[in-house]
């Protein structure tokens, strides 16, 4: 079904070095302590997978299982400790939608600024400008500084920019749909259109229905390792079973 792989990950590991608050002063005073080996934390351990062109990969797992770390490595935000990561195409990481928005600038300036940060050229932003404003339903506020926006307006603006980025590869970290019911419906439909289109997607989510609806296959991460990988229904089924059992067990303990 998917002839070429656009994301290939082989034997990927990520080890964080946990550091205390380091200042030149503390280094001077406790220079001996520096000799002690810093603590290490393994966030990802020997991960291998590949994603084909146009495929939608879902990643599930409990908090702290390494999902976001994996996305950030794919996006090129964190360097990997070992292993091989290859990503071919224009990557748009939607890890934090409101990233780069400057409260003291007008909506117009913000669209150009954020567009450029996501790698769009001035010309591209210009041609998409009207459509972004239209989608956000904020035509009357184009020249208003956005610190005066309500949080719903901000979320709408951020989302409107995000869906105009035309990525080849999209990395989604728990993108939730903000705003009122009608905007939520609209953005959900738009996002589904994008995900179902040509775009290759890696998405992290705790919403099982979203994963089930959109993903072609799913990886289940636990403590930085792949526990299960495969068909969406199969993996989410197992994952749900596992977490439900775990949750019911822990809740029964807390109630007794």
């Amino acid at each position: 079904m998917f002839d070429t792989d656009v994301i290939t990950v082989r034997d990927l590991s990520k080890i964080f070095t946990l550091r205390g608050e380091e200042t030149a002063l503390t280094r001077l005073i406790k220079f001996r302590e520096h000799l002690r080996l810093p603590r290490k934390f393994t966030a990802l351990k020997n991960i291998s997978f590949s994603v084909g062109d146009g495929e939608v990969l879902g990643i599930v797992g409990r908090n702290g299982s390494g999902k976001s770390t994996l996305l950030r490595i794919l996006a090129g935000i964190y360097p990997q400790t070992s292993g091989d990561v290859q990503v071919k195409g224009r990557v748009v990481p939607l890890i934090n939608l409101q990233v780069g928005l400057q409260p003291k600038l007008t909506m117009r300036d913000n669209i150009f600024l954020v567009g450029s940060l996501f790698g769009l050229s001035r010309k591209e932003v210009k041609t998409k400008f009207e459509s972004i404003v239209e989608f956000a339903e904020l035509r009357d506020f184009v020249d208003v500084q956005i610190y005066q926006f309500s949080s719903g307006m901000l979320a709408r603006l951020a989302f409107a920019i995000a869906i105009h980025l035309e990525p080849e590869i999209m990395l989604l970290d728990e993108v939730f749909f903000a705003g009122d019911a009608s905007f939520r419906e609209k953005s959900r439909a738009e996002m589904e259109k994008m995900v179902k289109g040509d775009c290759t997607v890696v998405m992290v989510s705790h919403q099982e229905d979203l994963i089930k609806k959109m993903c072609d296959h799913v990886i289940w991460l636990e403590r930085g390792e792949i526990i299960l990988e495969g068909n969406t229904d199969y993996v989410t089924g197992k994952y749900c079973e596992h977490t439900v059992i775990k949750d019911s067990r822990s809740s029964s303990i807390s109630y007794t």
């Binding site: 200042t23 030149a24 964190y78 890890i95 934090n96 300036d109």
Partner: protein, 249 residues
């Protein structure tokens, strides 16, 4: 490359607009700082330190604005990447662009200050032809400052108190540099100043702007060495540390 230039353009424009509170009048506000420093120092020192200096007001003003470019750029470079945790944790924007755009932003306001300097110089009747040498030293100053900014913007990830250290260092440096005083010919200060890149920048600038003399080749050579040395070391430090920026904020 083209994408980088666009990011540079947009971020510089954004930070310039933010600093000016969205209006052209905002420029006045940050020109007022150096102008007040200038007036105060002029009132205090013109009869003591300035007696033996030709065109002391211009000497002082050029010193203040050129020093200001360096000190403002470097102090803002400390937070230009470090303070953008949200951005660098969620987008792989090329980090060096944030540093360059910070220094560019300060350069733009520096150019306004230079225009004011020219107006005041014209008022005193000082118009020189050696002005053509000034852009050279401006470029060297930019390169030197950029190098220091690169180093600082990266080192603060390792030493969180670099801000405090740097503010003390620049204070000492400000007094060690002939900004509001002049060096004695052949004195000890002159020998020490050979190792002070800011001295060379000021010296060559003043020669060009006020005293109509071409740059002293030796001074220029030392400055060129300092500038490119600073840029080289700055980029080296930055390049060594930048892959882990996102993990350290």
């Amino acid at each position: 490359m083209k994408q980088g230039i666009n990011i540079l353009y947009q971020t510089t424009k954004a930070s310039f607009k933010i600093r000016n509170a969205g209006s052209c009048l905002g420029i006045l506000w940050y020109l007022l700082g150096p102008i007040f420093t200038f007036i105060i120092l002029l009132l205090v020192f013109s009869h003591r330190l300035g007696e033996n200096v030709d065109h002391y007001p211009l000497y002082l003003l050029s010193g203040i604005i050129i020093w200001n470019f360096f000190s403002t750029s470097t102090s803002r470079s400390l937070t230009c990447v470090f303070g953008q945790a949200g951005l660098i944790k969620s987008l792989p924007v090329r980090r060096e662009l944030l540093v360059i755009s910070t220094v560019l932003d300060v350069l733009i306001s520096h150019l306004f200050e230079i225009v004011i300097f020219f107006l005041i110089a014209a008022y005193f009747g000082v118009i020189t032809f050696t002005i053509i040498f000034f852009p050279i030293v401006l470029v060297l100053n930019f390169i030197f400052t950029l190098g220091v900014s690169y180093a600082l913007s990266a080192l603060i990830f390792v030493f969180r108190d670099l801000g405090q250290i740097w503010s003390i260092l620049t204070k000492v440096w400000w007094f060690a540099t002939p900004i509001f005083y002049a060096l004695y010919e052949g004195g000890r200060g002159e020998k020490v100043s050979m190792f002070n890149p800011m001295f060379h920048i000021l010296d060559i600038s003043r020669d060009a702007l006020i005293y109509s003399s071409a740059p002293d080749p030796k001074s220029l050579l030392i400055l060129v060495a300092f500038s490119f040395g600073s840029l080289f070391i700055g980029i080296l430090i930055f390049w060594k540390l930048y892959p882990h920026f996102a993990e350290y904020v």
